[in-house]
């Protein structure tokens, strides 16, 4: 069967196909697909583009043959190659007009626009850390705890804290300082890891 296929020339297959024998097209594609595909790939170096151009090439071949516009008997492959070549040029022209972002170089766009939202694991760790910190704060003396909560959780200025608690700014600052020192001491003492 294969022998028989090889014996039939392209010209005969083309004329058979024009006469309505669809199987001739299958033989022609099978016979030349690798050459045509490799030719396109050697120009565009992209599998997807090659696949598209290959498909468009044979769509053009099919249309031309069915419309009876083919007149280069015996030169089937060079004709197909010329169509492929023209479509490759079309592809590059189209891309020059509308350049695509090439992500194959060293610069990776996703390193700039990475997803900053935390994944499930990191979110859980963050919640645990925040929970641990809250529990540590609860252990602080009331005056220190009060200043730290106002400053860190309520985002108040030391001026506002001093006004609200009725102590001087310096006292508020001092309480904040001791609160942090005490927190660090407890963290060091119990080897608590507060990172994510």
């Amino acid at each position: 069967m294969i022998m028989r296929k090889e014996l039939i020339s392209d010209a005969v297959l083309v004329s058979d196909y024009i006469d309505g024998n669809e199987k001739s097209l299958a033989v022609l594609i099978e016979r030349h697909k690798q050459k045509v595909y490799s030719f396109i790939y050697s120009k565009v170096y992209d599998r997807d583009v090659t696949e598209d151009v290959f498909q468009d090439t044979f769509i053009k071949v099919i249309k031309t043959l069915k419309l009876g516009k083919y007149n280069e008997e015996g030169k089937f492959l060079p004709w197909v190659m010329r169509i492929a070549h023209n479509l490759v040029i079309d592809h590059f022209r189209k891309n020059n007009r509308m350049p695509k972002f090439d992500n194959s170089t060293e610069f990776n766009i996703f390193s700039v626009i990475s997803d900053s939202s935390l994944n499930a694991e990191k979110r859980i760790i963050k919640e645990q850390v925040e929970d641990d910190v809250r529990r540590l704060i609860e252990e602080l003396p009331d005056d220190q705890k009060q200043v730290l909560v106002m400053r860190m959780y309520k985002d108040m200025s030391f001026k506002e804290i001093s006004e609200l608690t009725g102590v001087s700014i310096n006292t508020a600052l001092g309480r904040m300082r001791y609160a942090l020192i005490n927190l660090r001491k407890v963290i060091d003492k119990h080897n608590i890891v507060l990172t994510n």
Binding site: L25, Y37, S38, E51, I59, K66
Partner: protein
Amino acid sequence: MAKLYSKELKHSETLKPTEETVKFLLSYSQALSVINCNKLKFEALLN
């Protein structure tokens, strides 16, 4: 005898269109019919 240090190119083996593309083309060809009408030719895609 000279040794061949270059690796055999496996590329050429894989450089061919996917089965789907070939199948699509054959289906496209079967579906495409040209209608002749008073010296005019119309393409029709019949599924």
